[in-house]
Subunit: 222 residues, 2 copies
DNA sequence: GATAGACTGTCAACTTGTTTACATTTAGTG
DNA sequence: CACTAAATGTAAACAAGTTGACAGTCTATC
């Protein structure tokens, strides 16, 4: 592994929170893999080979029906880790993962992690914390799909992707936004147009500029 | 705690799989509570007070929107445990839980469990296994909602509730089945009627008799 | 700066499920 | 047995999204 990759890894927040010894051990077994745009990272049903950490780029986590429809569960940003459920229970992958753009991932092999966990309860605890976080996200997503309208869900998904200060542009195509929200591209367009007429957003090519995040927030806060 | 309750507890599969000493310790701190029909067990957003085990009766796990719509996430049967995510991460309850019928629950206080976990890695592992199971269920539910039709989801939900041999009667009203599947009572009725005309099921008062589980299985297996 | 490919705008026909409304059946209870 | 509350049957009007089709727009890149 290159020196520069080790640097990037040791700065990763999740790893940085671990005891120095455990962190060093994990970094020493980490493999760095580069994925081209659209390349598959792993498939639903696959073996629990390891823990994946996104160093740079972007990864789409999705599932597909037999009919070929795809739904996007989430899009991961650099710094995030995934695949922990397979590490913990040995079960198969729950989703497909694809690189949206050229991406660099760290892969910690399952056996190595389990080995470190045995000697380091902190690492095990960190894995469990990751799982808890993802589990809560899943519950939130279920609630959203059953209790909120497409318009409300779209507002949520957009706001998740805006920096904390509440303004800025979310770079995503209308088709992808639709897949993330669970509606068609055409419906996505209609909702965005409605919002634009109220000056809550501005539609830009391959993106949405948030002008009034408070208004979007209000959609599902009452 | 009464002697008879201790007996019931020690026969519980999840507890029975734990080392004898840990099991005894957990049983000694367990509180048994009886809930009347429709009584609330806990609410979404509540404190992570403990791990709940259903000894007898039935519990509905659900969430509600601001508008008052309720969706049923699952119905628990005796022997099942829930509430582990709050034990592990200290976060708030993810769902509401209500007793469907008069039910008896064992509650293991959070502090006591964490204490036992420290001395007993087996217990911690069992909690994590429970969380993994629930997390995978959540992912499956999300897939189901986004990728399958109401008819397919209804078939899945019904089949989950039939004994393994593939025939029998599922005791549930059409309204509740609807809430579980995410459709209205009227749509539920329409789907069931369609199935009955094909002799896949028979509609009975407050229940559905499965006649051809293979046919239902086929709905989402191709 | 031409051009291809991806993205967006827009519409009408269609599908699916909800809502509203009311009649009917069922099971339990005094 | 009569009565009541819950559950079920059914249909028309309505709402919300999807699909398919096609024209227009943007961006990278050759």
């Amino acid at each position: 592994m290159r020196e520069i990759d080790k640097m990037a890894l040791s700065k990763n927040p999740w790893l940085a929170a671990l005891p120095a010894r455990a962190r060093a051990e994990l970094i020493s077994v980490a493999k760095i893999r580069r994925f081209a745009e659209h390349e598959r990272v792993h498939s639903k049903g696959g073996e629990p080979d390891g823990l994946y950490g996104l160093l740079s780029g972007e990864v789409r986590v999705s599932a597909s029906s037999y009919a070929g429809d795809e739904i996007v569960f989430t899009r991961l940003r650099p710094g995030q880790w995934f695949g922990e459920i397979g590490i913990l229970d040995g079960g198969e992958k729950t989703h497909d993962a694809h690189a949206v753009a050229m991406s660099e991932l760290a892969i910690l092999p399952r056996k190595a992690i389990l080995d470190v966990c045995l000697r380091n309860p902190e690492v095990h605890r960190a894995l469990v914390a990751l799982l808890c976080e993802h589990c809560r996200l899943a519950f939130t997503a279920i609630d959203a799909f059953l209790l909120y309208s497409p318009e409300q869900r779209m507002a949520q998904r957009l706001l998740e992707r805006v920096p904390a200060d509440g303004s800025g542009t979310v770079a995503i195509s209308q088709s992808e936004l639709g897949a993330l929200v669970g509606v068609s591209r055409q419906s996505t367009n209609k909702i965005l147009k409605r919002w634009e007429s109220r000056v809550w957003i501005r539609r830009v090519y391959r993106g949405v500029e948030i002008c009034d995040s408070a208004a979007l927030q209000k959609l599902f806060a009452d």
